[in-house]
């Protein structure tokens, strides 16, 4: 017992989240009336308390491996934690009005959100592949439930079952890969695996390891929505509740990326032919995502394809990890990219749900005709988010792309960088089409009035300001991220 008590303090953020998650579910049962605002407020309080714990825990982690070496404690992972919490707080905040408007005001949504984030924490900080798998399943299963939240709607059902089948299919691939790696190295702990592979270099080229790594990478590619494992992404993103779509495109991908970085580094995969495979994945992911987004008429589907393309850009940074000269820079750029993407994507998806109107059906880009005349403020904010997604300076989208491409050039992947830049030129077309529709076209008919509650508008303005300010003054955010990459020597561990 005396062994266990100090250990539990090492996973204080996770414990806090779990306690608050149960409290939120309990409070929801106690509330008889229709309003779910207290439930949402309690979950936001829970997220902020957890954020405090994360800062306390990760500013200067005392130990690197805790809880019988199953959990890794690094400031770099702490930054990912903050990203997940930021995304979760925004999701819960915007969902208060969204779920109320759609009359699916279930308190379970907020409880499940807390468990999704808990699952992300567990998987992002796992040092044991089994711990990672349990965290992944905790996240995924809670997500399957809330993707199908609109339970009487066909779209939501279909998205949930497709996500469930593809997600558990991918999980089975990952699990079989983990089983094979356990077979080769005799352990599921990443530090022991790294040590074993360091001592037995001949194992690196054995066919069994190849098979297990292919299984692992395809599992991750499913979760990240990389081409050719992306078929589920547009369907699920279109059918899921819109606030949750924004969350999935940023935080779920962030969690999978954090683990991907750890696994690639500890399995010594950032060398030789694996770099080629990752490069090819990055190129086809960017290209297919951008080209498919060109012909979408539904804004949610368009943003879904564009999120595939963005995953491709981030993969460029992952490829750059292979060069030790640029690995620190690449690690920094992944976090900065995700942070910028968080602001602009939540903005875009929130405006999409406001414009869609009651009943959640107006996601067609045609609906944006003349929005600048009907709702100039909303149109202006949407234009900022779209310009940032394109990557136009001085917005944060430009800085994020710049960081990633800089890391890739520093790691001397010139061709890959050129392809990535050309891809972001293709992306200009479909983002600008939204802006053009808003500003150049006349409003067709007096459609439904767009109801926009003032707190949502205030939050959107804050997001737009963040997009502009982090684009012009990226140094504050960069300093924090660089501090997290350099302290604790995350990238030197392997």
């Amino acid at each position: 017992m005396s062994l266990f008590i100090p250990n539990i303090l090492n996973i204080l953020p996770e414990v806090t989240l779990a306690v608050f998650g149960l409290l939120v579910l309990g409070l929801d049962l106690l509330l008889k009336n229709k309003t779910k605002v207290p439930v949402a407020v309690l979950s936001i309080i829970g997220f902020f308390t957890t954020a405090g714990m994360v800062i306390h825990q990760f500013y200067e982690p005392a130990e690197e491996l805790v809880m019988q070496e199953t959990v890794r404690s690094f400031s770099y992972i702490g930054m990912f934690y903050m990203l997940f919490l930021g995304a979760a707080i925004l999701t819960v905040f915007f969902s208060i009005w969204y779920l109320k408007r759609e009359k699916f005001n279930y308190g379970e949504f907020y409880g499940m959100m807390m468990f999704v984030v808990l699952g992300m924490f567990v998987m992002a900080s796992a040092n044991d592949l089994l711990t990672f798998f349990i965290g992944l399943e905790l996240m995924s299963i809670a997500l399957y439930i809330i993707v199908g939240l609109f339970r009487t709607r066909k779209y939501s059902n279909e998205a949930a079952i497709k996500y469930f089948i593809m997600g558990s299919f991918a999980s089975a691939f990952l699990l079989f890969g983990i089983a094979l790696i356990y077979g080769i190295t005799g352990s599921t702990k990443l530090n022991i695996i790294a040590e074993f592979l360091g001592n037995n270099a001949d194992v690196l080229s054995s066919p069994l390891l190849m098979v297990s790594v292919i299984l692992l990478i395809s599992g991750f590619a499913f979760k990240l929505g990389l081409v050719p494992f992306h078929m589920w992404t547009p369907d699920v993103y279109q059918g899921a509740p819109t606030t949750l779509t924004a969350f999935m495109s940023v935080a779920v991908k962030g969690a999978a990326l954090c683990v991907l970085i750890t696994v690639l580094l500890s399995l010594k995969l950032v060398s030789g032919s694996w770099v080629l495979i990752l490069t090819v994945l990055a190129v086809i992911t960017m290209t297919v995502g951008n080209v498919a987004a060109l012909r979408q008429k539904d804004i949610k589907r368009m943003l879904a394809y564009s999120s595939i393309a963005h995953a491709g850009y981030i993969l460029v940074a992952i490829v750059a990890l292979s060069n030790p000269k640029a690995s620190m820079l690449a690690g920094t750029s992944v976090l900065f990219y995700l942070m910028g993407y968080l602001f602009m994507n939540f903005g875009a998806f929130t405006i999409a749900y406001l414009v869609a109107g009651e009943g959640d059906e107006g996601y067609d880009i045609e609906n944006y005709k003349g929005l600048s005349k009907k709702r100039p403020l909303l149109a202006g904010l949407m234009a900022i988010f779209m310009f940032s997604l394109i990557g136009i300076p001085p917005l944060v989208g430009f800085m994020a792309k710049f960081q990633v491409f800089y890391a890739a050039v520093k790691a001397s992947f010139i061709t890959l960088t050129v392809i990535a830049v050309l891809n972001s030129v293709v992306a200009v077309y479909y983002y600008l089409r939204v802006v053009v529709t808003m500003y150049m076209d006349e409003p067709e008919k007096r459609g439904e009035r767009i109801i926009s509650p003032w707190p949502v508008i205030v939050m959107l303005i804050i997001l737009a300001l963040a997009v502009i300010l982090f684009g012009i003054f990226p140094d504050r955010a960069m300093d924090a991220i660089i501090y997290s990459t350099t302290s604790g020597l995350y990238f030197d561990m392997f």
Partner: protein
């Protein structure tokens, strides 16, 4: 006495049967069963390797995976019932409303 290779071969065969089943079968419940088959083939590999390495990590992993598989089935069947209530079908080919 079974050799490690034989057990691994069996688990690989089971895994491939599961993958093929998920891809070619159209009934949601059969697809769910095939996913369970894939998870259980991984369990078999874990047990075989645990015996080979003479350590318990693999056997403990199996218990966790079994628990996770049970949770997955619970959520999966709930979703399938939901689909059946709304559409009166559990055939995956009938789920074609989302497309662009």
């Amino acid at each position: 006495m079974l050799s490690l290779e034989m057990v691994l071969l069996l688990s690989a065969v089971l895994f491939v049967i599961g993958v093929i089943g998920v891809i070619i079968r159209r009934n949601l419940i059969v697809i769910l069963m095939c996913i369970e088959l894939m998870l259980n083939s991984a369990n078999l590999a874990f047990i075989a390797f645990a015996r080979f390495h003479q350590n318990l990590d693999g056997q403990i992993a199996v218990f966790f995976v079994m628990a996770i598989a049970a949770v997955e089935v619970a959520v999966g069947l709930a979703l399938i019932i939901l689909i059946y209530r709304n559409r009166k079908t559990v055939n995956i080919d009938d789920l074609r409303d989302l497309k662009g």
